[in-house]
């Protein structure tokens, strides 16, 4: 039997039974739709998450010092050399002041940091340049603004034209050297303008202290962040004679007790990833069950089909159909049903993803962060779904097809 004949016979048999075929594939449709919807939403969430935290967020360790004076860049570099597992450490400091142009005035929140900040975060440069090592060495009064900040301070002026402008910040004049997309995920809100500047500039001119209080540390790829964090704590305890071992210690009487905190977002990220993974696992189980139920439905329909078409089977055998011809005809019917169910499921699933992404994002607390959550449709998972349907069709079509092929031609022809 030629493949084209097989397809023709299959089509003719299935279309003769349209209503029943449609009902039978419902289970498959639901199972596939559920997987596609959930996969698309979860993929959307992880894309948004990596945008929010940066792709390297899981590798970042934050160190906060309190009660330690005169912690210098050399001391910081000493950590990088003594504790194995770090690519680099960068100092950060938060300064505040009033920022103003000739026409506008706002309060500013300035992060003092290092040029490597860009590679540690997902922040992207949209105009001009980021500050460089020379700006660091000379504590240049250069400022990096972000797009929301530009809007707040310059109105409709595009970022490219803002670069090179000068603004007043604190007691000094600053040159705007570059514009990034976002300094942080909340910078669109409120009136505060969020900026970045070289660490020395901020610490000298805005905070008045040069001792490093905060550091962001990039662990090297593949190193175990928990081990690195433990080693860091131990190193700091030994070198700075800390009383309590790790957590910030607010209980120690007067003055400022020496303490250090070493934290990372990894545990938060892990938790989110884990809850998404278990959510996904539940969906896989749910859709697995509906595929199973759907598959059994298909098998049941195919068995009914075989019974109803016993005379047809006998006739085909009398006219020369071999076992394989009969088997392949019925298996193909079941596979086609399942694939049709799968394709409808994929379409409904994509639709479902767009409908459910809003409520889902809200319930997971994702929508409060700005960008709307959009589902990500993944070609591989669609292909997978179709493949799974094919296999389902093969598995559940096999038994009815085999029983059809085994029928005796004489008995089948005489069947009432």
């Amino acid at each position: 039997m030629k493949p084209s004949d097989l397809v023709h016979e299959t089509w003719s048999a299935l279309s003769a039974n349209r209503g029943r075929s449609a009902l039978t594939i419902l289970g498959i449709v639901i199972g596939i739709a559920a997987v596609i919807t959930m996969n698309s939403i979860i993929a959307g969430i992880s894309v948004q998450q990596s945008q929010m935290f940066g792709a390297n967020a899981a590798r970042l360790v934050a160190i906060r010092l309190s009660g330690i004076d005169n912690f210098t860049v050399d001391d910081m570099n000493e950590i990088a050399q003594s504790v194995p597992g770090y690519d680099y450490l960068i100092p950060t400091v938060q300064g505040t002041g009033n920022i103003s142009t000739n026409t506008k005035k706002a309060s500013a929140d300035v992060t003092g940091t290092d040029p490597r900040y860009l590679s540690a975060h997902s922040t992207k440069l949209v105009a001009g340049d980021f500050f460089d090592e020379r700006d660091m060495e000379e504590a240049d009064r250069v400022l990096i603004m972000d797009e929301p900040g530009v809007k707040k301070l310059f109105g409709k002026k595009p970022p490219t034209e803002v670069v090179g402008e000068s603004v007043h910040l604190g007691n000094d004049e600053y040159l705007i050297k570059g514009v990034v997309d976002k300094v942080n995920s909340w910078s669109t809100w409120g009136d505060t303008v969020y900026c970045m500047a070289p660490y020395p500039t901020v610490s000298i001119r805005l905070t008045g202290t040069t001792s490093i209080k905060q550091m962001e540390c990039m662990t090297s790829e593949g190193s175990d962040i928990d081990t690195v964090m433990a080693a860091t704590k131990q190193y700091l305890n030994e070198h700075y004679h800390l009383a309590s071992s790790d957590e910030e210690d607010g209980s120690g009487g007067g003055g400022s007790p020496r303490s250090v905190s070493v934290t990372s977002d990894k545990s938060i990220l892990d938790q989110v990833n884990q809850s998404m993974a278990s959510f996904q696992a539940i969906m896989v189980i749910v859709s697995g069950i509906s595929l199973l139920v759907g598959g059994i439905g298909i098998m049941n329909m195919m068995l009914t089909n075989v019974t109803e078409r016993i005379r047809e089977i006998g006739l085909r055998k009398a006219l020369g159909a071999k076992r394989f011809d009969i088997t392949s005809q019925f298996i193909l019917e079941s596979v086609c049903l399942c694939i049709a169910g799968g394709i409808i499921g994929v379409i409904l699933g994509i639709g479902g993803a767009y409908v459910l992404v809003g409520p889902m994002g809200e319930s997971m607390g994702m929508s409060s962060t700005g960008d709307p959550l959009t589902p990500v449709i993944d070609g591989a998972s669609i292909l997978n779904a179709v493949l799974v349907c094919t296999v389902t069709g093969l598995i559940f079509g096999w038994y009815p097809a085999r029983s059809a092929a085994r029928l005796d031609p004489v008995e089948s022809l005489n069947h009432q």
Partner: protein
């Protein structure tokens, strides 16, 4: 080339069922030369369908040998028999057995999808077969359940012709038709026989047998020639006459 299209020697067919054994054929010997139009006639339950199933390669003899065009059919596998059926045999059934959802053309072409006849040739062959049975062309793309009984049987005969078989087997082909339509269908078989087709028709109807070249009778799984049958009937009538005469005396 074998001398006979079909050659059955001492064929027995014993059915085994919960009720015990039924000997449906008890030593059937039958030879049909090429081009013969043979009728097998017998009452219900005499073993006609059993015989046709064996001649058609749908069933195997319990003992004895059956050769189709010299090929010994006894030991062939199911798939080998299926291939022979598709290539060398044409079946016509009492109840037409057309596929309702398919068009006339698709029905006629059905045996060809199980052979290696190329697609390009199939329609041509089906047209030819349908022209032979005289079905008007306007019906070719009708679904088969839109036809009358006589038309359906003509489609079924076209289907039996389409693979140009060595032997056409028909089991009660007029059993479901009225007498006028029956005559048309039998006329068609007679024409096919004139064109050199080998045909075996199974029936319980003596009128049908009038169309054939030769009639054999089947009773209780045994075959009798026309002469044997006549002798048997005459002997029975004679003894019956004796009984009547004695009754009349008392």
């Amino acid at each position: 080339m074998a001398k006979y299209v079909l050659d059955a020697q001492n064929v027995h067919r014993i059915y085994e069922s919960a009720a015990g054994y039924t000997a449906a054929l008890r030593g059937v010997t039958l030879q049909v030369p090429k081009g013969e139009f043979l009728c097998v006639m017998g009452p219900s339950g005499s073993g006609k369908s059993t015989l046709m199933n064996i001649l058609g390669g749908l069933d195997r003899p319990t003992s004895g040998t059956y050769k189709l065009e010299g090929l010994l059919m006894n030991d062939l596998t199911d798939d080998e028999l299926a291939e022979i059926r598709g290539q060398r045999l044409g079946f016509v059934f009492q109840r037409y057995n057309l596929l309702e959802r398919a068009t006339v053309m698709r029905n006629v072409m059905m045996p060809l999808i199980y052979t290696d006849v190329p697609k390009s040739e199939r329609e041509g062959r089906a047209y030819k077969a349908l022209r032979v049975v005289g079905l008007p062309e306007e019906y070719y793309d009708h679904r088969s359940n839109e036809l009358s009984g006589g038309q359906m049987q003509r489609v079924a005969i076209a289907r039996a012709l389409v693979n140009n078989p060595a032997l056409i087997l028909a089991d009660e082909p007029t059993g479901a038709l009225d007498s006028a339509t029956s005559e048309l269908v039998m006329n068609l078989f007679a024409n096919l026989a004139e064109q050199g087709k080998t045909i075996v028709i199974i029936t319980h109807d003596p009128e049908t047998c009038a169309w054939g070249d030769r009639t054999v009778h089947i009773r209780d799984g045994r075959l009798f020639s026309d002469e044997e049958e006549r002798a048997l009937v005459e002997a029975a009538l004679k003894s019956n006459a004796g009984v009547q005469a004695r009754r009349g005396n008392t």
